[in-house]
Amino acid sequence: MGIVSTLELTLLAGCIAFVIGAVLAVVRASGSKLASGFVVVYVAYHRNIPLLVQILFWYFGITALLPAVIQSWLNQHGGGFLCGAIAIGLCMAAYVSEDLRSGMRAIPTGQYEAARAMGLSFMQTMRYIVIPQALRHAIASLVNEMLLLLKNTSLLMAIGVAELTYATRQIESQTFRTFEIFAFATLCYLAISFCIMFCGRALERHFRVAGR
């Protein structure tokens, strides 16, 4: 049960992180001072505050500001899961956008200029020329972020989301077979992590940028 929850959270938060991270990276590259200033602040905020504090802030702080109807709906439908996924997703988006940005920096400016000269709009240049290459350059660090994201889902036990660590604690307090159950959870995390590392290696090999 806990494992499924952990995997779901990883996927959901991962999707949020990648989509928002990509958007942030494009906005940063757009050259508008105001927009990229916003991204800089966003990244600084999410990188300088512990994730646990961000999760607590979302779960206790932000939900307290919402109208009562939404609050009770959240309480009935597992608000912790949703808040947690959003908090982790938004935080990791900051890291993903930084990875993509350094991936973009590896692309020579001549390519932008050529694409624009050929009549592609800014968005088209990003979509067809820049982002696909930036993804390839950034793949190793993106896999690392995915690993980090998996590990960070364990923090959600602090707000009572029934993921792997929380379930482990629960079983431990029922059965008192502490070491067996923790060894099992440890092995589960290791198995998932090694899967991610292995897939990452395979992806890296498959998409290796020529000439490197």
Partner: protein
């Protein structure tokens, strides 16, 4: 928000210190400094093992790195939480548990940083040192490590920043640090979670942002130092 800070700044800063255990921001900083300080020698040992000429040593260090990198810090905290009292037969304060978990976790990450530094050093340095008759360990101690540690100083500092952020996990096993203190304030006030947690976020942000800026300055300095060195040798 200002009034929360006015009423509870002492609790957030040092916990119940004069009359009770030390806590709050002071505890967070102590944990982070001790954690990174104790992890540093361990990380040098692991990094040397990672780059050592003996295959068995290298493989076991590599396995350690993979295992620690694949597990959440929270798992280490719980292992320490249950295993240390079971092994020692006595109960251990949460701070020690937390410190233990932090040292294991951080020493592996720091070791990766130092290994990166060792591998970035031109091979000619080691070759020259070996050609001059230094043993492997002498080469590492006299030639390699002093340069590497200077070059990776900024990365070590950013690892320190992550450690500060990671001490917040102590909250889960009720270590009396900043997040725990904020939670106490929240349960005293009850009705203003948004303000309390925003305040908590601002405190962490200020601390880490200042340190991040220091990292950037240090990076520039180290870079300049290396460039001038390169010019001199040319």
């Amino acid at each position: 928000m200002i009034d929360i800070l006015q009423n509870y700044w002492l609790l957030l800063l040092v916990g119940q210190f004069p009359n009770g255990p030390l806590g709050g921001l002071a505890m967070t900083l102590i944990l982070a400094v001790c954690g990174i300080g104790l992890a540093f020698p361990c990380s040098i040992a692991i990094a040397l093992a990672l780059t050592s000429p003996f295959r068995a040593l290298r493989a076991s260090a590599q396995a350690l790195v993979y295992i620690v990198r694949g597990l959440p810090l929270l798992m280490f905290i719980f292992w320490a939480y249950f295993a240390i009292p079971a092994l020692l037969g006595t109960s251990v304060p949460g701070v020690v548990t937390m410190l233990f978990a932090l040292v294991i976790y951080e020493s592996v990450y720091l070791a990766e940083v130092i290994r990166g530094g060792i591998q970035a050093l031109p091979a000619g340095q080691t070759e020259a040192a070996r050609a001059m008759g230094l043993t492997h360990l002498q080469t590492q101690r006299i030639v390699v490590l002093p340069q590497v540690l200077y070059n990776v100083l900024p990365s070590i500092l950013s690892q320190f920043i992550s450690t500060i952020k990671e001490t917040s996990l102590g909250y889960v096993i009720s270590v009396n640090e900043l997040t725990f203190a904020a939670n106490q304030v929240n349960s005293i006030l009850l009705t203003r979670p948004f303000d309390v947690y925003l305040l908590l976020a601002i405190i962490y942000f200020t601390l880490c942002f200042i340190l991040t800026s220091c990292v950037r300055l240090l990076e520039l300095r180290v870079e300049r130092g290396r460039k001038s060195l390169r010019l001199k040798t040319q």
